[in-house]
Subunit: 427 residues, 2 copies
């Protein structure tokens, strides 16, 4: 594999008009058009690498522009050069002496970094002929550690500690892998209760989900308290007292507002309150968190300001940074429950959580991976869910190759779908 050279990079602005049906709507994102900056790495071999980062419509063109700005740092490199010093390559992407200014490691430039690195990891896994989770599970712990940039986190996790965690988790690894292949990884669903759905939709989707074997449900809240009470009551009544309910406010509240609101919703016994306030507010005591980089995760853990860690395959710096976060979560003994949904997030993150169970945490207690039943039909190797569990992917790679036809059709603004939509809007 090693001599494969990356000869080109293309990036596409792909948008799905999900806002038309209120799919994905929440208290802060009322009209998302689920989108992706979609990256394809060309090589001098028969292989390509596919990666993406998830966005919600407007602004995707800015991430595309950022990917283009990073492309010069990737094109011309061999896969061998990259993976032999992946930490160094990660540093090159995140610490370019000029581009670093417009981050660092946050917002647009970090989303772009994730898209590019996801494609590099996909290429690596394909070159090895393995699905990404298996590449990670089989990888020598020393090599895994060398993929991680410990800058700014060494006060919370040293290389030595990280290695110890991986060495210790070798026990029982084989059994856990077999268990995953047989039963899959437990999931929860967010598909039933988007904020923009009517009560009738909620009822119908929830009863379908129950019939399919789902036992854990997330409800979007935060726009109107009376609405939230009614919707949570409805869901709790339908699922009964023993199943699990979570709520997600998507950063809608100030700190005191969050406390007051959540008190009113306590009777529905949510397992967690997701993103009650600003994602930057460590001291505001978010109870669960999606963070924009490992430095933020580190502090949430140090401050005991979260009870669940939500990793994201597209907001932080790909596998490299997620490895750091999984290892820190393990050290601080906090369960990881990945964020997914959107476009391709389920496809990507399943690899990381499988790796976490098999090679890091070794536990399923209080752990589950989000699942949203959207847009999987656009992927060549879509997620497989069986009895509310993710079944480990078998195809080589990181599972985020999109169908060429979908990329063409949903390209913004010139794909067939958008030409029609924009024409109808008279734009």
């Amino acid at each position: 594999m090693s001599k494969i050279k990356i000869t080109g990079l293309t990036v596409s602005d792909v948008r799905f008009p999900t806002s038309q049906e209120h799919h994905g709507s929440d208290a802060m994102h009322t009209d998302p058009d689920y989108s992706a900056a979609y990256v394809v790495l060309e090589t001098d071999a028969a292989l390509k690498g596919y990666g993406l980062t998830f966005t919600v419509g407007r602004g995707t063109e800015i991430v595309v522009c950022a990917v283009e700005a990073l492309s010069g740092l990737v094109i011309g490199k061999t896969l061998e050069e990259i993976v032999n010093d992946f930490r160094g390559f990660y540093r090159i992407l995140t610490s370019d002496g000029q581009m670093r200014w417009i981050g660092p490691e946050k917002g647009v430039i970090h989303l772009a970094t994730a898209a590019v690195l996801n494609a590099v990891w996909d290429l690596w896994a394909r070159a090895e002929g393995k699905p990404l989770w298996k590449l990670l599970v089989d990888m020598d712990p020393d090599l895994l550690i060398k993929c991680i940039d410990f800058r700014y986190i060494s006060d919370a996790l040293t290389e030595r500690e990280a290695l110890d965690i991986l060495m210790k988790a070798r026990e029982g690894k084989q059994q856990r892998e077999e268990q995953m292949l047989k039963d899959g990884y437990p999931a929860y669903t967010t598909s039933c209760a988007w904020l923009g759905y009517s009560d009738q939709q909620l009822t119908q989707l929830c009863s379908t989900a129950l019939a399919e074997g789902w036992t854990r449900f997330k409800v979007k809240v935060g726009a109107d308290l009376e609405d939230d009470i009614r919707r949570c009551r409805l869901i709790r009544q339908m699922i009964g007292p023993d199943k699990t309910l979570m709520i997600d406010a998507n950063q809608r509240w100030d700190v005191s507002e969050a406390v007051a609101w959540v008190t009113k919703l306590a009777e529905f016994r949510p397992l967690w309150i997701e993103e009650p306030t600003s994602p930057d507010d460590i001291l505001g005591h978010a109870t669960i968190s999606k963070c924009h980089n490992r430095v933020m995760f580190k502090q949430f853990l140090q401050a005991s300001a979260l009870q669940f860690v939500q990793i994201d395959s597209c907001r932080v710096g790909s596998v490299n940074e997620n490895l750091a976060i999984l290892l820190m979560a393990c050290k601080f003994n906090v369960p990881v429950c990945p964020h997914a949904g959107g476009v391709g997030l389920c496809e990507l993150v399943q690899h990381l959580i499988l790796f976490d169970y098999i090679s890091v945490s070794g536990s399923l207690q209080n752990r589950m991976c989000e699942y949203v039943d959207h847009l999987h039909e656009h992927f060549r190797s879509p997620t497989v869910i069986r009895q509310a569990c993710y079944i480990p992917p078998k195809d080589p790679g990181f599972s985020c190759e999109m169908l060429e036809e979908s990329v063409q059709k949903y390209q913004f603004p010139n794909g067939e779908v958008w030409k029609t939509t924009l024409l109808q809007k008279g734009q």
Copy 2:
């Protein structure tokens, strides 16, 4: 003024090849080309509004792309609509249901927001025929408060508290304004000790600065400890024991590294250690901080993790967000020492610190504003420094209108300067 309508927005990628002379070099940004995403608002009146955000070269095109994405939210609005509900307008820019995803309020999209809002404030000040600092100083406290978005900070500062601070500071306001017009606001210089300068350059620049009346000096450190010791010793010897020295590591260190390094430099008695580690690391106890939004500043203040607040006119959301930060700093009794330099940062931030002294803090104790003697010649109303003090600007606006000729000449990549430079590099 009120009926002025914004009819268009242009944005330029302007870059100065400062890396050729190592101006601006530090431990993390070794070769910055000081740059700006430069915004001009066109109106249906004779006035225009000028704004910018500062960048350091590559990646400026991404910020330009983000400004273009925001332009639709500005064009077509009247100045009256905007300033009558400036909080609402701020929220529109920072909380667009789709673009919010690629921030929120951080990185590229927040830099772009700053550029656009700086231009809006410039237009407002010009419409009133006042320099921006004077517009703020004369503004009714109620109206000032209505420019601030209190979302996510109300647990640290309420509207009522903010108003009380402004009302209380009315006492002595007139005298402070007169004092500023007469003496100016104290500054410190960073021009003498960039990391890439030779010892000979250091010596020469420092002796010139002393002759000009400078008494406060900042030294860039963090790349090599022996170098740092030698350079700090040199500067301390030249300026003597009574003048002030600060050091800036530009995020180079991990937490434990910072402690060890700074211990070695303690003998040179730096007043502060700037950005010892990641700007996201609240718990890493930075002693001074440039943050990316008011939520980060809030926590640094709540956690007593900084001793000086460094506001920035281009990284946070313009005057609106800086008002929030100045008021929080006042409540927590922490001195504000603005970050400046770059392109236009001195021009912009002088207005904010003048307002802070006259209308908020009322104190000069432990306070000073950074000054770097670069690139002022490209501005229509450049800063005026007298005896190491900023003299309050008199021209209407926010002082960041660039000379049309400079904008043309340094436009990237098609301006005259870059055509030649790129040609020489054979690119």
